[in-house]
């Protein structure tokens, strides 16, 4: 569940440091020249749009995610939806949930909200903590670096899925669940970012422009924010892009284990968890969240991959991923 961590950043391996950071326009142009990345961007954008407009979309369908429709399931056969393809009809675009008869389309689009919000929120926590602690380790002197280095190792090696399961099970339900998921994923997932930031800071701090700023009498805080931080942006951005899909998988996994968001709030992982008992009688109920989760995670991964290539100062011109 953890993101694989590259131990050396590529900027750290060059002698005279990375070339000046690419302007946003260049990065954007390179991204658009990358077909898989464009697909990723389009589908990820669609998913975000769907998540943002979920209440609107389900209103358009005329349904909501929590109303039970017992008349639409076959109680004689254990609650399998009536009708073909899991009860697909003009009123229920993706059919209904087995047993309860809740509308599947409404639950799916609302589930996208949870999935994306948790992934983004957790990534914000991860990047925030990672950048802060990575900067502190890189600039704070030997002891602090040593101490934080151990803590980073610990966080990366920590059995975080197991610990999250334990933690999520004991926190009372009165605490907002999605927020809790963000915090827990965030608290266990900042190690990789911190490691990358630290390595980058170590290579940046001996550069001429940093020395020049110091000699000119700039205070340490100014050096950190004006001279060092901008050099950290590109590697952090390309790493943060991988965090999104891995957070989505983590959230779905926790919800699958039954410790994620609480019913009746829908989430894709939770739907999949319920689907494990229904895949014989109602395959549509499995396929809808499975395919959507797969496509969304895939598109975010493609986007991350494209962004990494586009931000990579080593790759020249618009040449595509020939590494």
């Amino acid at each position: 569940m953890s993101v694989p961590v590259e131990t050396t950043t590529r900027a750290g391996t060059t002698e005279d440091g990375p070339p000046p950071a690419r302007s946003a326009r260049v990065v954007w142009r390179r991204l658009l020249a990358d077909r898989p990345a464009v697909f990723g961007l389009a589908f990820a954008g669609l998913a975000v749009l769907v998540a943002l407009t979920a209440p609107l979309l389900s209103a358009l369908e005329g349904q909501d995610p929590v109303t039970f429709h017992p008349e639409l399931v076959d109680s004689a056969r254990g609650g399998v939806p009536l009708g073909s393809f899991g009860g697909v009809s003009a009123e229920h675009w993706l059919g209904v949930e087995p047993q309860t008869g809740r509308d599947l389309f409404a639950r799916t689009v609302h589930g996208a909200q949870i999935s994306l919000a948790v992934a983004v929120g957790a990534a914000v926590v991860q990047v925030g903590l990672g950048v802060a602690l990575g900067l502190a380790a890189g600039l704070g002197g030997r002891w602090l670096d040593h101490l934080l280095g151990r803590v980073i190792d610990l966080v990366i090696a920590f059995p975080s899925l197991i610990f999250s399961v334990a933690l999520l099970a004991v926190v009372p339900d009165s605490f907002p669940r999605p927020l809790l998921l963000m915090l827990i994923l965030g608290l266990f997932g900042w190690g990789g970012t911190a490691r990358i930031v630290r390595a980058q800071v170590l290579s940046l701090r001996s550069r001429d422009h940093v020395a020049a700023a110091r000699l000119a009498g700039a205070r340490p805080a100014r050096v950190a924010f004006r001279e060092i931080l901008p050099g950290v942006v590109a590697p952090v951005l390309s790493y943060a892009a991988i965090l999104l899909p891995s957070n989505m998988i983590a959230e779905a996994g926790l919800s699958f284990l039954g410790v994620g968001v609480r019913p009746p709030t829908p989430s894709w992982g939770q739907m999949l968890s319920k689907a494990t008992t229904w895949f014989r009688g109602d395959p549509v109920y499995v396929l809808v969240p499975a395919i959507l989760l797969f496509l969304t995670v895939l598109s975010f991964s493609l986007l991350a991959d494209g962004l990494r290539t586009a931000l990579d100062p080593r790759a020249g011109g618009l040449a595509r991923r020939a590494e």
């Binding site: 569940m1 694989p4 898989p36 151990r150 610990l154 090696a157 920590f158 059995p159 975080s160 899925l161 197991i162 610990f163 399961v165 334990a166 933690l167 099970a169 004991v170 926190v171 009372p172 899909p245 998988i249 779905a252 996994g253 699958f256 284990l257 039954g258 410790v259 992982g269 999949l272 968890s273 689907a275 494990t276 895949f279 014989r280 395959p283 499995v286 499975a290 989760l293 797969f294 995670v297 895939l298 991964s301 493609l302 991959d305 020939a322 590494e323």
Partner: protein, 330 residues
Amino acid sequence: MLSYLVRRVVGAVVVLFVLSVAVFAIFYLLPGDPAQLVCGVKTCSADRLALVRQKLGLDQPVAMQYWQFVTGLVVGRDVSAGPTVLHCPAPCLGFSFQTDEPVLALITDRLPVSLSLTLGAMVLWLTIGVGGGVLSALRRGRFVDRATTALVLGGMSVPVFVSGLLLLMVFCVWLRWLPFPSYVPLGSDPAAWAANLVLPWFALALVQAATYARLTRTSMLETLAEDHIRTARAYGLRESRVVGRHALRGALTPLATMLAIDVGAVLTSAALTETLFGLPGLGQLLVQSVNTLDLPVVVGLMLLAGFAIVIGNVVADLLYAVLDRRVSLT
């Protein structure tokens, strides 16, 4: 070398200490009463609740409970269960709140299931992942490489509970080629053991194979660009020999370390797979005990998981030093 090992062992003890304190802390600082759960939520009188609490040792302060746990781990301890006194020899992980069984026995009972799952899946993911990665690197930029890269991205985007569900639907429901997985011990019927584990193996191996293929490809490309490979080629060695004898060794070194770490993380990766397929392994035990607030079992499993991960990391470092002579451990 020796001082390195000593430092690693000290580090490992620190990690395990932090882990055990953290688990104790979250279970006691947060609401939720194990005694209430054991006793039954509605049918429990106050007297009986107090009795249960005393029996489980929950009437004592947290620090005391933790101290007893640690002494039990090191020298063993006696636990009074009503009129009888049970002796629990070191390393004592205590008794389950729910079933009163020794935690160590619960764990050793279920360990074979998790090991069967992980080791079998490992053989698969290594074969597929390393094979695909090497092939991809040698045919760089060609069709095989592109196809592998696409499959890798796809494979990494499928969580194990999605691929597992799809495999179940295809092979158990539609094609009916395989039985619905239920664990059969290897000792009693090897054929049934394998037949039942095929789907869980593939489900778990798919994601991992993708990660390994990607790493193998990158690592192989880096090795092929190194000077000693150029030299070997310049001597006129056949390409098969250059790749098989010289490049593979260098390229697979980072994989060995990753493998050691992944095997150490067996419990984590098994939790989702075992829950999906209903395999009675350690991961399933963990999810169950968390839901019933069975603290001794959760602590035992967390310590085991932490221990395995720490050992995995040390083995990874040692392997690295053995396989790559440029690395020295100090």
